[in-house]
């Protein structure tokens, strides 16, 4: 969308932190209980059957190896039990041939694929990648045969995930207009998804309106439990208008027991939403905590680090990858019209706590693995998977 972006489910990031760094522990008994229930609670209703997805786009992953992906051509969210086995790997091996291997398995070269998103499973220590083949003789974007899910394991192995033998569930988020003459659903295009406790958060886009469509899909899946919200925000750069802009990319931020939605918008407010305040069908106003400056479009965002001190990594079209300090993300005083975290002047005004991560320059995807960052990056004519300390 669709954003050709990469993003890691924040829950996965948080889980990685548990595994990867001593002291990076969730104190939350609620979260422990969630994980303790295991995937059985997450996969209620999943069954093997005939897949009917049209595309594999944005990814999110939940504990125990339950992967969620957005069918961003058909407005649906799928959950799949990956039937993972636990890995004790403590290091992730870089792979300079990641793109070449995936591309060859799809019958092309790295120039002929688009890695749409990534998600890391702390359970198997595997990085999942949703990939689209872009140079096939059939380039119908709604042809499921041009999409695949791959996994890169910690030992360097890259393989395609065979979905045909996996149990799965599906919930549609698109909806027909209340009335009218059109029989095709709106809010069909999906920009991003993230896993929060008990739900998948979805930023959806309509093809005939410029508006906000934030959708919550309950987990375990329940079609009747899908909720929609209209979000509005305070736009720092002009300090007096509110907007119904669609969310470009989103992630879940954790502070002790609480989870927040962090959303990035075009041009580029960073806005925090209290998940407890999301009510079906109701408007919700976010809390703007930062303004990254005009002239860019955010493409992916993750939260990483210890709960309560999570920082954000945000890729955008103009400045490369920015780290937003955790203190800014959880700011409660200097927000909205009082926001001071403002890289004004087209993003050129420096602001301590919003820094460009120079050694991530060119990265098109990233995921945190404890204190290690997995980075998907163009390398020569290929695409490499590199590792580096989290910034």
């Amino acid at each position: 969308m669709q954003c050709s972006c990469f993003r890691l489910s924040t829950f996965a990031v948080a889980s990685l932190v548990v595994a990867g760094a001593a002291g990076y522990m969730f104190s939350s008994r609620v979260q422990a209980a969630q994980q303790g229930r295991g995937k059985a609670a997450l996969i209620q209703g999943f069954a093997k059957g005939t897949w009917d997805h049209k595309a594999i786009g944005p990814l999110a992953i939940a504990p125990g190896g339950v992967l969620f992906f957005a069918d961003d051509q058909a407005g649906a969210i799928y959950g799949v039990d990956l039937m993972e086995t636990r890995s004790q790997a403590t290091e992730f091996k870089p792979n300079a041939e990641l793109g070449a291997t995936i591309a060859a398995k799809m019958g092309t070269t790295p120039a002929g694929i688009q890695i749409k998103d990534t998600a890391f499973s702390n359970f198997s220590k595997s990085l999942y990648l949703s990939v689209r083949k872009t140079d096939g003789a059939d380039q119908n974007p709604a042809n499921p045969a041009i999409y695949a899910l791959f996994r890169a394991d910690a030992d360097g192995k890259v393989s395609q995930v065979d979905l045909s033998d996996k149990s799965f569930g599906k919930v549609t988020i698109s909806a027909l207009p209340r009335f009218g003459r059109r029989n095709t659903p709106d809010t069909r295009v999906i920009g991003d998804i993230a896993f929060a406790r008990g739900r998948i958060l979805v930023s959806a886009l309509a093809t005939d309106q410029f508006n906000s469509n934030l959708v919550s899909v309950p987990v375990p899946f329940n079609q009747a439990g899908v909720e929609r919200y209209a979000t509005s925000i305070f736009h720092v750069s002009h300090k007096k208008m509110e907007t119904a802009s669609p969310i470009q990319t989103l992630t879940v931020y954790r502070d002790a027991d609480k989870e927040y939605l962090i959303a990035a918008y075009v041009c580029t407010p960073i806005v925090r939403f209290n998940l407890d305040e999301l009510k079906a069908g109701q408007p919700v106003t976010g809390t703007t905590v930062a303004e990254l400056g005009s002239g860019n479009q955010p493409m992916q965002m993750i939260a990483y680090g210890r709960a309560g001190e999570q920082s954000l990594l945000l890729n955008n079209s103009s400045f490369g990858i920015l780290k937003v300090d955790g203190k800014i993300a959880k700011e409660t005083q200097n927000v909205n019209e009082k926001t001071t975290a403002d890289r004004g002047n087209g993003g050129k005004t420096p602001f301590a706590g919003i820094e460009t991560v120079e050694n991530l320059k060119g990265a098109t995807g990233y995921a945190a693995y404890g204190t290690t960052l997995l980075v998907v990056k163009p390398s020569g004519s290929g695409i490499a998977l590199e590792t580096m300390p989290t910034p």
């Binding site: 969308m1 669709q2 954003c3 050709s4 060859a104 398995k105 799809m106 019958g107 070269t109 140079d135 096939g136 003789a137 059939d138 380039q139 119908n140 974007p141 042809n143 045969a145 041009i146 695949a148 395609q160 209340r178 009335f179 009218g180 003459r181 059109r182 095709t184 295009v189 886009l205 309509a206 093809t207 005939d208 309106q209 410029f210 508006n211 906000s212 929609r228 919200y229 209209a230 736009h235 750069s237 002009h238 007096k240 208008m241 509110e242 907007t243 119904a244 075009v266 041009c267 069908g281 109701q282 408007p283 106003t285 303004e291 400056g293 005009s294 002239g295 479009q297 002047n345 087209g346």
Partner: protein, 375 residues
Amino acid sequence: MRFWWVSTAVIAAVAPNGVAAAPPLAVQSIAGSPGSIRVVLSGPEATALRQRLGDAPGADQVEPFFSIALAGQTTRIPLTARLNYVGSTAVLTPAFPLSTGRPYEILFDGPRLGGTFKRLSLPYSIAVDTSPSNSRVTRLFPTQATLPANQLKFYVYFSKPMGEGEVFKHVRLLNERGQPVVQAFHEVELWSENHTRLTLLINPGRTKRDLGLSETLGPVLLPNKRYTLQIGPGLKDQQGRGVATVHRASFTTAPHDRSQPRITSWKISPPKAGTRQPLHLRFDEPMDHALATDRVDVLAAGKSVPGRVELSASGMEWTLTPAAPWTAGVYEVVAGGEVEDLAGNSLYRAFETEAGKGQTPIVNPPDYRIKFRVK
């Protein structure tokens, strides 16, 4: 599925008498699915393969014996493929459509299987179709010669389903000097489900007053200027062929439109009972093409009146020609609150509102209704 044999992609065994035996290795194209193939292995090789691998081998088990891969790789990595058996033949089906213009090698490693089987190698490729796409822009909305300087959307219709991913390399908004306006669009590809309608959103950061880009780059459109929206060439269809023609639509800009349409100002010209005369509805200003044709309706006893809806080139005249003659009675024009004018001001709320003023965005804005009587 129908198959046909690709005569050039066959390795045939030759019997001692010089008569060609049945080809042990051949490629079948799958009709209606460009780039999709099946590789068929027949004869004793297929029988031996089945004996070795069983009826349902995994891809990893098959690849050492029977595979298709891009030719010329330093390390040969086969395409993911599934093997099954049809009668006495082994059928290898790649999971992905092949790319055009790339050389592939199909390999049956007989010696690895044992016995006296030979190594069979079959090159295969699909020629690049260099012909231009026969898709073209058929309609573009809005059609008016003059648009507000805060025009929000354009709808571009194509004659054939299009590809996705490179739109903003091929769409330009040109100023009076023919130069592209930078960052003119909100660069998210918004296609209809069948990929024949593309929605282009003018960059909202440069449309709203005082918003970042509006301050640094200025608005996309200035009042009283002339602009041209240019589509193509090179925009690809779903076969990867670029559109050869350029479609240009020029317009001039009027002042900004910050006011909402008002349904109370819409004028209805009721048709006569017993006729199939169109119902005429005149808006108070030009309306968004998609929303006006999709989300405005005429109801009789709460049910939609079947018929054909059209919106005039001016964007102000909406007509419904009923499928059956009108019957006398009370009808209702209903419009969703999301129905908006060219600048994104809807019946429910203005595109821009002062903080704390105006309507808050909501999921389901209210419907707006006008009753009328057919006599």
